[in-house]
Symmetry: C2
Subunit: 318 residues, 2 copies
C-alpha cells in the first residue's frame, strides 16, 4: 500500500483534535499553541547506507528532519534523537563522534537538544523529532492554478554522491569528496525560511525525489504540472558528470535526498522571488508551472519534446 493510502485509511481519523492538522501535511501544527513538530525514522540500509561514518550520518538525518520545518517557513528550536542499535553502533568512540557532530549542527542551526532515548537493537535506526514555534506555516496542497514551480539550490548532487559512495560511479578524489559531502551534508537555508511567506503558496522539501514530492505537494488538488527539464538547476560539478555520461538528468530528478525546498508561487511574485534570491545569495530557479487538470502532468525538454521517466521516485510502500 502507498503511504498516503495507509494514512488516509488507518490514521487520519485518529487525528481528532480540531486545533491541529488532520495528518494532511508533513508536519504537525497545533494552531492554538503555535507549535510545529516533525517526526521521522531513519533506518540503516534505507535512509543511510551504513554507519561507517557516524559523524556524517548523524548530520544528514538531523538536517533531513530540520528541513521539514524550514520548508514550511518555521525555524526549528529543539530536536530529539531516539536511537536503537547494537552496542558497537553506540561504542564510546561513536558516541563521541555523534555528540561532536550534534554540537556542530546545534551551533550552525541554533537548536538545542530536548531529549532522546538509546536502546539496544540488532538493527540501527534513529527517530528524529524537530520542533519549532510559529503562528503560521506554508502548507502542502495550497497550490494555485497557473502558479510557477520553483526550487532552491541545486538538485542531483546528493544522488550522484550516493552512487559514488556505492562505487557505481568512479571519479577522481576531488569530485568524490565534493559529492560525498553533498550526500551527507544537504545545504539548508535558514535565512530563506521565513521569507517564504512573502511569496510561496505551497511548499515541501525534496526528500523522495523532485517528481514524487511535487506530486505530494499537489496530491489532494485537481491540478497538474509541466516541468522543463533543462531548467532544473544543477551544480557545475554535476554538469561535468552529465557531460561524461556518468548519469542522466532523468535519473536524479526521480531520486531523493536533495532536501531542497520546492514551492509554487503566483506569476506576480517572480520579482520579489528574484530579489530575495539575490539579497540572500541563494539560487532560486523557476522550473515549471501548474496547469489545469485537463492537461496531463508532463516533463519537456528545451525544445518542447516530452520526456519519459522510467520511475517517478521513491514512494513508501507496504
Amino acid at each position: 500500500m502507498h503511504e498516503f493510502e495507509i494514512i488516509k485509511k488507518y490514521f487520519s481519523k485518529l487525528s481528532t483534535d480540531r486545533n491541529s492538522l488532520n495528518l494532511s501535511d508533513d508536519v504537525f501544527f497545533c494552531r492554538s499553541k503555535n507549535l510545529i513538530i516533525s517526526i521521522d525514522t531513519y533506518v540503516e540500509g534505507v535512509h543511510f547506507i551504513n554507519f561507517k561514518k557516524p559523524e556524517l550520518v548523524i548530520k544528514k538525518i538531523i538536517r533531513a528532519s530540520l528541513s521539514d520545518l524550514f520548508c514550511k517557513g518555521v525555524i526549528p528550536k529543539y530536536y530529539f534523537v531516539s536511537g536503537s542499535g547494537s552496542k558497537r553502533s553506540f561504542s564510546k568512540s561513536n558516541l563521541k563522534k555523534i555528540s561532536k557532530s550534534l554540537k556542530q549542527e546545534q551551533n550552525k542551526f541554533n537548536i538545542s537538544l530536548g531529549g532522546g532515548d538509546t536502546v539496544i537493537s540488532k538493527k540501527l535506526s534513529f527517530t528524529i523529532v524537530s520542533l519549532g514555534f510559529s503562528k503560521k506555516i506554508i502548507y502542502r496542497n495550497k497550490v494555485k492554478k497557473d502558479d510557477d514551480i520553483y526550487v532552491i539550490g541545486n538538485l542531483g548532487d546528493s544522488f550522484a554522491g550516493l552512487r559514488i559512495i556505492k562505487k557505481e560511479i568512479i571519479t577522481n578524489h576531488h569530485m568524490r569528496r565534493y559529492f560525498e559531502n553533498k550526500y551527507y551534508l544537504p545545504e539548508l537555508f535558514p535565512d530563506l525560511s521565513s521569507k517564504l511567506f512573502l511569496f510561496a503558496n505551497s511548499a515541501i522539501d525534496i526528500s523522495d525525489g523532485l517528481i514524487t514530492d511535487l506530486e505530494k505537494l499537489i496530491n489532494q488538488q485537481s491540478l497538474s504540472y509541466v516541468l522543463r527539464i533543462d531548467k532544473i538547476p544543477i551544480s557545475n560539478k554535476l554538469k561535468i558528470l552529465l557531460n561524461k555520461k556518468k548519469l542522466k538528468k532523468e535519473n536524479f530528478i526521480s531520486q531523493g535526498d536533495d532536501y531542497q525546498i520546492l514551492f509554487t508561487a503566483s506569476k506576480s511574485k517572480s520579482r520579489i522571488i528574484n530579489k530575495t534570491a539575490k539579497s540572500l545569495g541563494i539560487k532560486i530557479s523557476k522550473i515549471g508551472s501548474i496547469c489545469s487538470p485537463s492537461v496531463k502532468s508532463h516533463i519537456i525538454d528545451e525544445k518542447g519534446n516530452k520526456i519519459a521517466l522510467k520511475n517517478k521516485g521513491y514512494y513508501h510502500r507496504f
Copy 2:
C-alpha cells in the same frame, strides 16, 4: 556504559536552552511554552516479546509513553507514533488492529494522534512521543530527607504476566488471562495525575523496576532509602502465585513494566494522600522512607531483617 553516564558525558551539554531541563528528568519541559514531551523507543524482543498481538502491544507502548507524563502531573494531549518494521508487521490486518487499538486508547485517555512515520526495516520498533501542556511538573531528584515513599496501585502483576506468556509459570486459564492483561494493559490513573501536586515532592513511573526507578528518583541527591518489602502492594491473584511458590516478591521488585507511579512526600502529607486515595478509589501505599546518606539503602522484611537482592533491576547499558 550506564545510560546516565552516556547522557552526562555525551548529551547533557547539548541541552543548551535555558528554558528547558538539562536532560535531567524523564521528560522535556520547556518552561516558557509550558510544553512537556516524552520520547521513547520500544524494540521487539526488548520492550515487548513479539508482535503476535499487535492490538495489545500497541496499547502497552502507548500507555508506557503516557505514563511518563502522568507521573509528572501532566495530562497528555497529543501523541506521535513512528514505526519501522517488515511489510508483514504492517500488513493490512495488523494496521487495522493498530488503528482500532489507538482509537480505543484515544477515547480512554482523551488524546489525539499528532503525526508519525512508517518505514520498512527488518527489525520491528516503535518510537512514541507524548506531549502535554502544563505550567509545572513534578521533578525527579527533588526528594527530601525523611520523605515517605509511596507507590500507586499494585506491583508485580505485569512481571508475572510476562513469565506466564513466556510459559515460565504455568497457571490456569483464568489466572493467565488476568496476568496477560496486566502485562499488556498497565493501568494508568489520569485523575490522580494533577492531584500529585498536592503532596508529591518528587515522582517517577516504574518502568525498569521499583529499585532501579527509586534509585533514579534520588540519583543526583545525597540520600538513601529503606523499603519495607511486606508493604509493597500486590494483587490478590499475585498473592495466590506467591503462596504457590510460583515466584517470590524479591523477583518482581527488581523487574520493570509496572508503570505505576512512585513518589515521595513529606510525612505531614499522609492525611491528604489517604484522602485523595479514598476519593479517587485508588490504592496508594506507603512502602518506605528516605534517609540521610549515612544509612546505606536497604530493604527489610516485616521483622526488620535485611533482604538481599540478586539484581536491582533493568539498567540500560551499552
